[in-house]
Symmetry: C2
């Protein structure tokens, strides 16, 4: 009974008015586009989403960052400082099912496109806002970026070496992590709306959203009565040895294999002893329980490292994994990018971009009937002015020409 | 037009057959419960979800970890090794809208509840599977936990000090991060199903899901041609000074304030000079451009640190933030837990748990019409045997009594 659209028809017919930039907002609307919604990005005619020029403005093609967070969308350029431009966006809001914005605090209201205004135009719209801090927070007016959200939410306090300073994880969890929670909420609201016709006002703060991903640390705190510690290479739960990144042949920055022996499954440790050629220690009381190994952490870790150092990380992962012990090579982005099985499975896909040519990127990772939805390129600035104004508002060629001449659209 | 259920009615009437444990699966079904679905967790009568006893089996109340990932759900205990128990679950699958499992590879098929079996019973079900590695991956049969997914997906390669070993971020992104992407896909499939009646087979691998959160690193690689580096306290994009965690008064492990000056907005740096009492340097060519500051990174960072060391992190955040520069104190889980404004806004809520009494935890962070959905306690093992078997299958008191006597249910 599954279709063969791989999920790309889930939201067909749904119109999203996308007034977002950088990442928290765009990551949300991009998922809606992958699931088949018509997502129209409204951008300023001068330069558009600043994400197009990550690292600073200037000439040159759109940055890969923009391509990654705006695939499958459309773009129109509207001058919001012109009253006719503002009216155009209101007319589009009247036709939209969803509107999303992630401007600085107060900006959308100053533009004249706040919730109360849009709700009066279209009571059944799902209107969505992303801010750094929530309404009612002492910092509700503060600016925030990904790293600020990660600092203020416990993420950094739990990331780093045990005796080191707080660090920022590699992923842009403050942005994309927030966008995903908003996407869930949009879809929930759309589902209800399909039955009741009711609109919704959704608001999410990046600081609040981060705590959702850190609930394991709050659980540790609830169990111990203390703030969760840094995870280092193990976990805020503490874990038990051997557990962590073990050095492999090569000696490069990512030549490590992660080995995990679960407290809940004593077989992991015994199997590992067989792999590293220390069958003699199977059942030895000095090492057999998690508590015993915790007392001899350094010795146990060194025993495992003595073996991992003789193997490259891929080999180590293969041998340890095949023996039924959770293990994983520490892979870098280039190794992942070049691993062909991701392309075979549609997890990494390539599209033709008008400026950059073939562009290969990570697609939506969830498979619908065996494959993720198909990637389409991110739009050039204003690429869809004509078709969107005709399709959404029924404007004719002459009317669109007048808007262009009057610099209402770019 | 918004209701006052705060989103808890979005999925009313939707039935979820929840065969998940630990976190990746449970985090997904919990969101569906928060949005109003009736989520029934099927557990083994002996001990249930091993997440109930995180850190090892034994007596005592359910671990906070279980409470955090199973709020608002129901629990029934079924012996799946008894053919009658297996039939009971099949009968429930016939009535369910969604089924989710995250057993080890091959386990659900060996149980006799694989996709083809369930689809034959209920063609319009949305059947969902979470694994560590995807079907078609060289590691498709390997075990995986949160940390393995983070090792194998680039997350650890980008986390840590520039010259340090790869580290694991504090959040359980491998689990909850995957659960969120699955929840989005479930909701997309449910939306389509409400229009077409079509079911769906959703599959997500934790390794694949992690790359979705790391797209900023893949963008860096696409721009530079090299694998993304560690983020340290800045970002895989490199950032530009001053940017990072600066030490504050107190000297504790989290006495730091994050300061970010954007390349795209030269005012951030100038405003910061005014805050730290170095107006004399505003416009000074040695520091005025991001490139100039990058050449004097140590000097610039020390200039900012000399000021931050004189203030505690809260004060520093307040002063710098109020001046229009993105800034955030590095907060730990205890500080967040005790910050009253989260409770006022419903981001942290308290419920009464039958074993633990009042339990305060992080709720769904997205507000629907001003507030997140209301938290309800996680169920005790088998708490809903009677009401679910009556409600879903129409079984009477005697029939349920027979199942209990026959040890088919716990």
């Amino acid at each position: 009974m599954t279709s063969n659209s791989f999920g790309a028809d889930c939201l067909s017919g749904i119109r999203v008015l996308d007034m977002t930039q950088f990442e928290a907002g765009p990551s949300c609307t991009e998922v809606l586009a992958w699931l088949g919604a018509e997502v129209v990005k409204v951008e300023n005619p001068a330069a558009g989403d600043p994400g197009r020029k990550l690292g600073g403005p200037g000439p040159g093609p759109d940055h890969p960052y923009f391509l990654e967070f705006n695939a499958n969308k459309k773009s129109i350029t509207v001058n919001l400082k012109d009253p006719k431009g503002l009216q155009l966006v209101k007319d589009m809001a009247a036709k939209a099912d969803v509107m999303v914005e992630n401007f600085a605090p107060g900006a959308i209201e100053r533009l004249g496109l706040g919730y109360e205004v849009i709700k009066a135009i279209n009571p059944s719209i799902v209107y969505c806002q992303v801010k750094g801090f929530g309404e009612g927070s002492p910092y509700e007016k503060n600016l925030a970026f990904d790293m600020i959200a990660q600092a203020c939410s416990g993420i950094m306090s739990t990331t780093g070496e045990l005796d080191g300073r707080p660090l920022k994880p590699g992923p842009s969890l403050g942005d994309t992590g927030t966008g995903m929670l908003l996407a869930i909420s949009v879809l929930g609201a759309l589902f209800r709306r399909s039955r009741t016709g009711e609109g919704e006002h959704l608001q999410v703060a990046m600081q609040d959203a981060m705590m959702h991903y850190l609930r394991i640390a709050f659980a540790v705190q609830a169990a111990t009565g203390k703030a969760a510690p840094r995870a280092a290479d193990t976990s805020v739960t503490g874990g038990n040895p051997p557990m962590g990144t073990f050095p492999c042949k090569g000696g490069g920055p990512n030549d490590y294999v992660y080995v995990y022996t679960s407290r809940a499954n004593p077989e992991h440790w015994r199997r590992l002893l067989a792999v590293i050629g220390r069958e003699d220690l199977i059942g030895d009381a000095r090492y057999d329980s998690p508590a015993a190994r915790a007392e001899r952490k350094q010795e146990v870790d060194e025993m495992v490292a003595a073996w991992t150092r003789q193997h490259d990380k891929h080999e180590a992962m293969e041998i340890i994994g095949a023996a039924g012990i959770p293990a994983g090579a520490v892979l870098d982005t280039m190794e992942l990018y070049n691993e062909k099985s991701f392309e075979d499975r549609g997890i990494i896909q390539t599209f033709e971009h008008p400026e950059r040519g073939a562009f290969k990127m990570v697609a939506w990772p969830v498979r619908f009937g065996g494959r993720p939805p198909e990637l389409k390129p991110a739009p050039l600035l204003g690429a869809n002015n004509d078709d969107v104004l005709a399709g959404w508002l029924g404007l004719g060629k002459d009317q669109i020409g007048d808007l262009r001449t009057g610099k209402v659209i770019g």
